[in-house]
């Protein structure tokens, strides 16, 4: 998953980014002002945007409106110092999906971000089930037919993204875009490595392969 943080307080942005990277294994981009944030949000596909309201150059409310005007469905979690009813209502009406008031708990921020990403991809449960495969997004554990499978961090991230879009064809570019921050072009060859590693671990005791390759198109996760 790839998340954009638009926050002008550099330390806060860094702390949030670190938590998302370390604890959830997300790729994170940080923008320090509204203009940069809007540019990044419009030129990349993110799985979630964390948006501060008081921003230099372009304030958060405007960024939010412009993101929604451009027709993006990316879930937006607003970080705000104001928790009065009017501003919360205004936020949600402007297209925010959720909000957190500062000072917030990093654990809560993480949980809300995960929930937003999940719901944004039409998955109500934190435990994703594809056939006999079970992927728990809370503790990041994977089981196939009741048998626990140990994955590396990158393998998990690839599988998590595929599991959020079951039965859909996911291209290599899409995977790269959602698994790495803005430097993703550098990593274009590693996806095959992770896919083959995943296949080996997932299909070990099973006759039916979970991940199929559609030549020239991408990968499909199907039970």
């Amino acid at each position: 998953m790839r998340v954009l943080i638009i926050e002008d307080e550099p330390r806060l942005a860094e702390n949030v980014a670190r938590t998302l990277r370390e604890t959830a294994g997300y790729a994170v981009d940080v923008a320090a002002d509204g203009q940069e944030g809007l540019f990044l949000a419009e030129s990349n596909t993110y799985d979630a945007v964390l948006l501060d309201l008081m921003l230099p150059k372009l304030d958060g409310m405007q960024v939010l409106k412009r993101i929604r005007e451009s027709g993006q469905h990316t879930p937006v979690l607003v970080l705000t110092a104001r928790d009065d009813k009017e501003s919360v209502v205004a936020l949600l009406n402007a297209g925010a999906d959720d909000y957190l008031t500062k000072p917030f708990d990093l654990g809560e921020l993480l949980a809300r971000t995960k929930a937003l990403i999940r719901r944004g991809k039409g998955q109500p449960s934190p435990v994703l089930t594809i056939g006999d495969l079970q992927l728990n997004t809370v503790d990041r554990s994977v089981q196939r037919a009741g048998r626990p499978i140990t994955l590396t961090a990158m393998e998990y991230r690839v599988l998590e993204y595929l599991a959020h879009r079951p039965r859909a064809v996911v291209s290599k570019t899409e995977l790269l875009e959602h698994l790495y921050d803005y430097n993703w072009e550098k990593f274009s060859n590693v996806i095959e490595v992770y896919i083959s590693g995943l296949r080996r671990k997932l299909d070990q005791d099973s006759e039916q392969p979970l991940i199929r390759t559609l030549r020239g198109q991408g990968y499909v996760l199907q039970g």
Binding site: E9, R11, L12, N15, V16, R18, E22, L55, P103, D105
Partner: protein
Amino acid sequence: MRDSIQRRLIATVVLFQSLLTVSLVLVGVSDTFWRLLSTLDTSMQAHAMSVAALVRYTEDATGNVYFDDTLLPSSIDPNHPDLFAVWADRSGLVARSDNWPQGLEIPSVPNHHWNFEWNGVPYHALRVSPVPILDREEGKAFRPQTLRIFYAAPTIRLRTQVRRAGAFIALAGMLLLAVTVLLALRGIRRGLRPLQNLAQEAARVSAQNWELRLPEEVSQIKELRPVTQSMKQMLERLQRSFEQQRQFLGNAAHELKTPVAVMKSTLQSLVQRPRTADEYRTGIQQSLEDLERLEQLLQWMLRLARAEQWAHGALRRDLEVIDINATCEEAIDRIRNLAQSRNTTIHLSTNGPVPFRADPEDLQLVWANLLENAVRYSPEGGSVEVAVTRNDGGPPCIVFQDHGQGIPPHDLHHVFERFYRGDRSRTRATGGFGLGLAIAKALVEAYGGTISAESEPGRGTRMTVQLPSTGRN
């Protein structure tokens, strides 16, 4: 709540109506009395003439008279017989009524009316003279006599009638009064209803709803217009200051929450997993810096609150007469480090000592805030000029001139607002909270002075402080 418009109006109505009733009763009673009395007079005159007609000459030639009482007229009031007496000028007393009271004094003036009381009975009396004797036969050779007649009738009935008329008028007056009061009450209630409506509408105004909606029957009343107008103006003023307070609170909350949020996230991410000693040290160092920033902000806010409290007279302080030049030098000293780090020079010019009654700490703070602002927005290696002037003991004027990029016109109105920052990214870099100028303004105003900003974009900004002549007592 002891006085009420309704009570006052009713009291006025009652008073006037009562006066009217009393005067009506007086007029009615006297009119009735005089009319009845003149009627009584007329009939007494007639009775007196009837009595005179009963006086006859005797058949002989002496010219003596006698009284023929067979045709005596009946009394005017059947319950109280009339009194009469007839005298002839030669024969003396001719006749008098049976009930003639002994010792009754009769005034000697002719044709006279008067009242008297006898045995508790009030009488109206009449004297007629001279009256010729009607029974006169032609050719009789004697000198005719004339008569003098006294006639009195009791006025008991007349008085009763007058009293009744008076009572009737008084009763009618009182009934009228009662009706008038009732109608007036109704009218006043109806007339005051717009006031009640206005009160109800005013009660609906709250911090959530500032609009005073005026019902048509209120807005159409001329007398209420000054009230409603000043209410509306008052509400507008209240709303403005309320909004300002709310905005200040919101801004303050935001400014306070940001360093707290940063600190919290730093510490939380430190304990998320085991870290190296270096990482811990950096995290704690950062948290300390954030804590310092928070502390500084709190201090600024407290200063602002204190300055405003003092401006509103809620604080008492001991002041001394000081020289404004000295406070400027102190302030320049205070920001020396900042000025040196930006390679900025500060020039102070003055035309002699300027005594002023103040707390020197306040003035130093004002100058330091203005200077800090000027230095921060000056280019590296620039200069800032401070000029203290006072002409002939007039009010002191202190001017701060920088040669920075200036303030855009749309920001210039707002620079003294609390937490206002024209461009947040730049001020973050310069480290301000947006409170320095607000505090300077609050303090200057607390001393009864004014502060203003002029700016030419690209050329620099000039801040002017005008203080009153002597300072604050």
